[in-house]
């Protein structure tokens, strides 16, 4: 197993863990946490490919990860603010109870 494959497997596992949590937990904040984990797994993928890829001098993977982190920060902020607002409105942060946009 090459180092790259190892890294990729780790990231895949991390991704699955994050997915499992996002699908399973009922608290909205934990769903967001699961999503953050998934995002981080993708970042790891980028770094792995940058490191073991053809052209590491271009720092492409790193740049991508930097921007990804920035975006993730913004997204977390907004998402948590949303959760707060919903919590104030619906008195709960249970995702299975907030199902008003249904067909």
């Amino acid at each position: 197993m090459t180092p790259l494959a190892g890294c990729l497997l780790v990231s895949a596992l991390l991704f699955s863990i994050g997915l499992a949590g996002a699908l399973t937990r009922r608290n909205a904040i934990l769903v967001l946490a699961g999503i953050e984990l998934m995002l981080n797994a993708a970042n790891l993928n980028f770094i792995a490919f940058w490191r073991f890829g053809p052209n590491p001098e271009a720092f492409t993977g790193v740049m991508f990860v930097i921007f990804s982190i920035a975006v993730a920060a913004a997204e977390a902020a907004v998402g948590l603010a949303l959760i707060l607002a919903i919590y104030r409105h619906a008195r709960t942060s249970d995702v299975s109870e907030i199902a008003e946009m249904r067909g």
Binding site: L19, A22, L23, V31, S96, I98, E100, M101, R102, G103
Partner: protein
Amino acid sequence: MTAGSSQNWIVQNLWLIPAIPMVAAGLVALMKRANRGLAATLAIGSMAVSLLLSLRAFAAALANPMLQVRNVDWMQFGDQWVQLGWLLDPLAAVMLVMVTFVGLLIFIYSVGYMAHDDNFTRFFCFLSLFAGAMLGVVIANSLLLLFMCWEVVGLTSYLLIGFWFQRPAAAAAAKKAFITTRVGDLGLLIGMVWLYSQAGTLLFYGNGNGCLEQRALAAMAAHATVAGMAVSTAIGLLIFCGAVGKSGQVPLHVWLPDAMEGPTPVSALIHAATMVAAGVYLVARVYPLMSGSALEVVAWVGAVTAIFAACIAVAQNDIKRILAYSTVSQLGYMMLGLGVGGVAVGMFHLITHAFFKALLFLGAGSVIHGCTEEQDIRNMGGLRKFMPVTFAAYTCGMLALCGFPLFAGFWSKDAILHSAHGWGISRGPFYLGAIGALLTAFYMTRQMYYVFFGQKRTPAATVGAAAVAVHGATEHAVEPAVSPRPGEVCAVEEPHESPVVMTIPLAILAVFAVLLGFVGTPAWPWFQNFLGGHGVTFDWSGFGEPGLMSLMLTSSLIVMLGLLLGWFFYGRRPIVHPTDEDALEELAPPVFSALAHRLYVDELYSVTVIALARFGAAFASWLDRWIFGGAVRLVAWAVTGVSWLDAGVDRFVVNGGFDEGCRELSRGGRLLSRLQNGRVQTYLSVIAAALVVLGVWLLWGHRG
């Protein structure tokens, strides 16, 4: 030259004679408000003018007995012109004068007779129209023109018989007259068409081309047709059919007695003097066409008619019906005269008959008027005290009709009997005619005694109702008393003499009834020679013809015998009650009953001809309703079925399918919308599952 040119003027303008009364009829018809004075003036005035013109024509014919003709082009058939025309010859001239003169007198009489009627103006309109049409028949030179005027005469007869059409009996009688004469007219029409095809023209005379002129006659006589007859004979017999209908000869006589439903002036003018004479005139007009065998038929038909009608007249109780059957009988005599003796013999009797029969009818009208609409002779009696003028005139007429010596009828009837006696083919008609003369005298005497002699039997006040009640009680009443005519009610109840306007014409006609015969005596046969077109001289030796004096004596004796028998049965014992049995009835009840029932001719027709017609009508009605109507109904049913199907398809298949589709769509949409349950985790699960599926699929493809 002036005489010639003035003669020529009348020939050129002969058409005025029928035209003026027709125009008067039109004017009267168009009058907005019924103006009696104007209507009567127009009618009588036009008739007077026609009389003057007819006298002018008569003078012209006297001066020039040759036939004069004027033809005009009427309409075009391809490149052929159909011509109409009129002619003036002694025969036409005599008829013109007779028709206009008798017509004028009857018009004047009608002013008094119809004075109480509401439809005075309509009456005079129809009378004028009739006069015009009759005169048209007289002067017609074309069989087509004659036929057209013939039909108008029939029409006006229908209108006048049914003048009081609110009475069902009158309406039925009018229909009967029209339809019966129609049967005869069918023969006339066929003959006319055949004549046209044979001769190429319907003009009687016209520069040698006319159908009664030598060339055409020779051609037609040469052809032989059905039963070996010559074509001219066949055509002549067909034309005679028309005369049989119009003049009431035996098979088609049934309408004449019923025609008495019309007002009395109508009966006098149309059904005594003129219209019925038109048939005789027609035969006289086409005489050149009739060969010996045709004339044989004419003679026999006439003879049979004469005796048949005379027998029935013996047992009638309605004053007008007796005269009607008498008319039928006399018409038979005229036909007999035409058949055995020629045009002059038949026409002489026609002329004299016109006068005395019109006189008799007007007298009967006077009697009816004076008895407040009573027409049954059993309810009259002793009237000679109440109506002396009428009685005197009626006596003249009666004697003339019987053929009493020296009266008009004597000379004319005698001429007929003389010719019949000398007829080579058979003596049968002579004997029939002689017996007929006996019967004529008998029934006229009977009528005289019932009406004018004896005790007064007229019931007072309600005449019609009482008479009906009385007659209903007796067994032998077959001619019920006629209920009062609308509008003819007089104020006075006692029998009274008629007003002057009615008695003057009676007097004038009486004079003619007595004197007219003298124009045709054997000593001075002016009439016969006038018709024949040559001059005449007074010659007593005319009486010296072999057999003539003995025949005159014989016929006089027959008349006396008839009068005697009449006195024997009816004159000796005065008739006291209206319900008394007739003297003849006491003698031979079954015979009297059969005669009173008119020898059941109407009943025979009813079960044969009329039943056939009714069956045909019923069959046609069935055909129309079930077959043709059924076809129509079938089509309608099919169309309805198709439209019902179409509606069903539209409602269930098209709309239903569409509705179903929409419903499925919304159901599908509702189903799909349940996918969106508003839970984020569900969405994420779906994405993850889709990712798995996609990945497996891609990787599977890249294996190996």
